[in-house]
Protein backbone atom coordinates (compact mmCIF):
# COMPACT_ATOMS: atom_id res chain seq x y z
CA UNK A 1 0.00 0.00 0.00
CA UNK A 2 1.48 3.29 -1.11
CA UNK A 3 1.99 5.83 1.64
CA UNK A 4 1.05 9.42 0.96
CA UNK A 5 3.35 12.32 1.66
CA UNK A 6 2.65 15.89 2.70
CA UNK A 7 5.32 18.58 2.51
CA UNK A 8 4.65 21.58 4.73
CA UNK A 9 6.33 24.92 4.00
CA UNK A 10 6.17 27.22 6.97
CA UNK A 11 9.22 29.48 6.62
CA UNK A 12 9.92 32.54 4.49
CA UNK A 13 12.27 32.50 1.47
CA UNK A 14 15.86 33.90 1.37
CA UNK A 15 16.35 34.32 5.11
CA UNK A 16 16.57 30.56 5.52
CA UNK A 17 17.18 27.97 2.81
CA UNK A 18 14.26 25.70 3.66
CA UNK A 19 12.20 26.62 0.63
CA UNK A 20 14.55 25.39 -2.04
CA UNK A 21 15.26 22.03 -0.42
CA UNK A 22 11.59 21.50 0.35
CA UNK A 23 10.75 22.08 -3.31
CA UNK A 24 13.53 19.68 -4.36
CA UNK A 25 11.97 17.01 -2.18
CA UNK A 26 8.49 17.58 -3.62
CA UNK A 27 9.83 17.28 -7.17
CA UNK A 28 11.81 14.15 -6.30
CA UNK A 29 8.71 12.53 -4.81
CA UNK A 30 6.76 13.22 -7.97
CA UNK A 31 9.66 11.88 -10.02
CA UNK A 32 9.48 8.65 -8.10
CA UNK A 33 5.79 8.37 -8.80
CA UNK A 34 4.72 9.16 -5.26
CA UNK A 35 1.78 11.45 -4.79
CA UNK A 36 2.72 14.52 -2.81
CA UNK A 37 0.58 17.27 -1.34
CA UNK A 38 2.08 20.70 -0.70
CA UNK A 39 1.08 23.03 2.10
CA UNK A 40 2.06 26.67 2.55
CA UNK A 41 1.29 27.96 6.01
CA UNK A 42 2.56 30.66 8.37
CA UNK A 43 5.56 32.49 6.82
CA UNK A 44 5.66 29.81 4.12
CA UNK A 45 3.04 31.76 2.16
CA UNK A 46 5.70 34.45 1.49
CA UNK A 47 7.49 31.91 -0.73
CA UNK A 48 4.69 32.18 -3.27
CA UNK A 49 4.63 35.97 -3.62
CA UNK A 50 4.73 37.34 -7.18
CA UNK A 51 7.48 39.71 -8.32
CA UNK A 52 10.29 38.46 -6.09
CA UNK A 53 13.63 39.87 -7.25
CA UNK A 54 16.61 38.42 -5.38
CA UNK A 55 19.86 40.14 -6.29
CA UNK A 56 21.76 38.08 -8.89
CA UNK A 57 24.63 37.07 -6.58
CA UNK A 58 22.07 35.51 -4.27
CA UNK A 59 22.03 32.68 -6.77
CA UNK A 60 19.20 30.49 -7.89
CA UNK A 61 15.84 32.22 -8.13
CA UNK A 62 14.13 29.07 -6.90
CA UNK A 63 10.67 30.60 -6.69
CA UNK A 64 10.65 30.49 -10.51
CA UNK A 65 10.62 26.72 -10.16
CA UNK A 66 7.15 26.79 -8.60
CA UNK A 67 5.66 26.97 -12.10
CA UNK A 68 7.23 23.54 -12.73
CA UNK A 69 4.95 21.95 -10.16
CA UNK A 70 2.13 21.35 -12.64
CA UNK A 71 4.55 19.66 -15.09
CA UNK A 72 5.31 17.22 -12.31
CA UNK A 73 1.57 16.64 -11.79
CA UNK A 74 1.69 18.22 -8.35
CA UNK A 75 -1.73 19.83 -8.24
CA UNK A 76 -2.67 19.50 -4.60
CA UNK A 77 -1.31 22.77 -3.29
CA UNK A 78 -3.01 24.17 -0.22
CA UNK A 79 -2.46 27.57 1.33
CA UNK A 80 -3.68 28.61 4.76
CA UNK A 81 -6.19 31.43 4.27
CA UNK A 82 -5.65 32.68 7.79
CA UNK A 83 -1.87 32.88 7.28
CA UNK A 84 -2.55 35.02 4.19
CA UNK A 85 -4.96 37.24 6.13
CA UNK A 86 -2.50 37.79 8.97
CA UNK A 87 0.05 38.99 6.42
CA UNK A 88 -2.40 41.25 4.52
CA UNK A 89 -2.04 39.00 1.46
CA UNK A 90 -4.56 37.61 -1.00
CA UNK A 91 -4.52 34.60 -3.31
CA UNK A 92 -4.13 37.00 -6.24
CA UNK A 93 -0.73 38.05 -4.84
CA UNK A 94 0.61 34.53 -5.37
CA UNK A 95 2.54 33.32 -8.42
CA UNK A 96 0.84 29.94 -8.90
CA UNK A 97 -2.64 28.54 -8.66
CA UNK A 98 -3.40 27.26 -5.19
CA UNK A 99 -6.37 26.31 -3.06
CA UNK A 100 -6.73 28.58 -0.05
CA UNK A 101 -8.46 26.88 2.86
CA UNK A 102 -9.61 27.99 6.31
CA UNK A 103 -7.65 26.25 9.11
CA UNK A 104 -10.21 23.53 9.79
CA UNK A 105 -10.37 22.35 6.19
CA UNK A 106 -6.62 22.56 5.80
CA UNK A 107 -6.24 20.42 8.90
CA UNK A 108 -8.58 17.85 7.36
CA UNK A 109 -6.29 17.62 4.33
CA UNK A 110 -3.24 17.21 6.60
CA UNK A 111 -5.01 14.46 8.54
CA UNK A 112 -5.43 12.30 5.46
CA UNK A 113 -1.71 11.90 4.78
CA UNK A 114 0.61 9.19 6.13
CA UNK A 115 3.83 11.15 6.44
CA UNK A 116 4.32 14.86 7.01
CA UNK A 117 7.62 16.67 6.61
CA UNK A 118 8.02 20.32 7.47
CA UNK A 119 10.53 22.86 6.15
Amino acid sequence: MTKTLGVINSTAPYGVSNGQESLDLALASANFGQEVTLFFIDDGVFQLLKSQQPIPEQGKHYSKTFSALTFYDIDDIYVCQQSLNERSLEVSDLCIEVTALPPEQLNQQLAQLDHLMRF
Partner: protein, 104 residues
Amino acid sequence: MTLHIVSTSPFGTTLFEGVFQRCSKNDGIMLIQDGVYALNHVEVYRQLKELNLSLGIACFALEDDVVARANQVKSAGVDSELIRCISMEDFVVLTLDFKATISW
Protein backbone atom coordinates in the same frame (compact mmCIF):
# COMPACT_ATOMS: atom_id res chain seq x y z
CA MET B 1 -5.00 12.05 14.64
CA THR B 2 -1.66 13.82 14.48
CA LEU B 3 1.06 14.13 17.09
CA HIS B 4 2.56 17.62 17.02
CA ILE B 5 6.18 17.56 18.18
CA VAL B 6 7.27 21.00 19.39
CA SER B 7 10.94 21.70 20.08
CA THR B 8 11.22 25.48 20.41
CA SER B 9 10.65 27.87 23.28
CA PRO B 10 7.22 29.55 23.37
CA PHE B 11 8.98 32.69 24.64
CA GLY B 12 11.22 32.98 21.58
CA THR B 13 8.98 31.86 18.73
CA THR B 14 5.34 32.16 17.80
CA LEU B 15 5.30 28.48 16.82
CA PHE B 16 2.80 27.43 19.46
CA GLU B 17 0.14 29.73 18.00
CA GLY B 18 0.60 28.02 14.65
CA VAL B 19 0.50 24.56 16.21
CA PHE B 20 -2.71 25.37 18.09
CA GLN B 21 -4.25 26.46 14.80
CA ARG B 22 -3.28 23.12 13.26
CA CYS B 23 -4.79 21.02 16.05
CA SER B 24 -7.81 18.84 15.27
CA LYS B 25 -9.91 16.75 17.63
CA ASN B 26 -7.88 14.15 19.55
CA ASP B 27 -4.52 15.32 18.21
CA GLY B 28 -1.62 15.24 20.66
CA ILE B 29 1.19 17.65 21.53
CA MET B 30 4.64 16.36 22.47
CA LEU B 31 7.00 18.89 24.05
CA ILE B 32 10.70 18.16 23.54
CA GLN B 33 13.91 20.19 23.85
CA ASP B 34 13.13 23.89 24.41
CA GLY B 35 9.46 23.13 23.81
CA VAL B 36 9.23 22.08 27.47
CA TYR B 37 9.43 25.75 28.47
CA ALA B 38 5.71 25.78 27.63
CA LEU B 39 5.33 24.71 31.27
CA ASN B 40 6.54 28.19 32.26
CA HIS B 41 4.52 30.17 29.77
CA VAL B 42 1.31 31.33 31.39
CA GLU B 43 -0.63 32.03 28.19
CA VAL B 44 0.52 28.92 26.27
CA TYR B 45 -0.24 26.79 29.30
CA ARG B 46 -3.72 28.28 29.51
CA GLN B 47 -4.33 27.49 25.84
CA LEU B 48 -3.12 23.91 26.29
CA LYS B 49 -5.66 23.52 29.06
CA GLU B 50 -8.40 24.95 26.88
CA LEU B 51 -7.53 22.70 23.92
CA ASN B 52 -7.54 19.72 26.23
CA LEU B 53 -11.09 20.49 27.30
CA SER B 54 -12.48 21.56 23.92
CA LEU B 55 -10.76 19.14 21.52
CA GLY B 56 -9.36 16.42 23.77
CA ILE B 57 -5.79 17.36 22.89
CA ALA B 58 -3.41 15.43 25.16
CA CYS B 59 -0.07 17.01 26.05
CA PHE B 60 3.21 15.29 26.92
CA ALA B 61 6.70 16.51 27.84
CA LEU B 62 9.98 14.62 27.49
CA GLU B 63 11.17 14.08 31.05
CA ASP B 64 14.92 14.22 30.28
CA ASP B 65 14.51 17.63 28.69
CA VAL B 66 12.45 18.93 31.62
CA VAL B 67 15.01 17.70 34.15
CA ALA B 68 18.01 18.98 32.16
CA ARG B 69 16.51 22.48 32.21
CA ALA B 70 15.58 22.32 35.91
CA ASN B 71 12.12 23.11 34.69
CA GLN B 72 10.41 20.93 37.28
CA VAL B 73 11.47 23.39 39.96
CA LYS B 74 9.02 25.98 38.76
CA SER B 75 6.32 23.69 37.50
CA ALA B 76 4.78 22.99 40.90
CA GLY B 77 1.66 24.76 39.69
CA VAL B 78 1.50 22.62 36.58
CA ASP B 79 -1.27 20.04 36.51
CA SER B 80 0.44 16.68 36.06
CA GLU B 81 -2.83 15.35 34.71
CA LEU B 82 -2.71 17.85 31.89
CA ILE B 83 0.97 17.57 30.97
CA ARG B 84 2.43 14.12 31.48
CA CYS B 85 6.21 13.84 31.74
CA ILE B 86 7.24 10.74 29.79
CA SER B 87 10.43 8.86 28.92
CA MET B 88 12.02 8.57 25.48
CA GLU B 89 10.60 5.04 25.18
CA ASP B 90 7.13 6.34 25.99
CA PHE B 91 7.67 8.93 23.24
CA VAL B 92 8.43 6.14 20.76
CA VAL B 93 5.24 4.33 21.75
CA LEU B 94 3.29 7.58 21.51
CA THR B 95 4.26 8.13 17.86
CA LEU B 96 2.58 4.80 17.11
CA ASP B 97 -0.61 5.81 18.94
CA PHE B 98 -1.12 8.61 16.42
CA LYS B 99 -1.55 8.27 12.67
CA ALA B 100 1.23 10.72 11.79
CA THR B 101 3.60 13.25 13.33
CA ILE B 102 4.55 16.81 12.44
CA SER B 103 7.79 18.20 13.83
CA TRP B 104 7.47 21.92 14.39
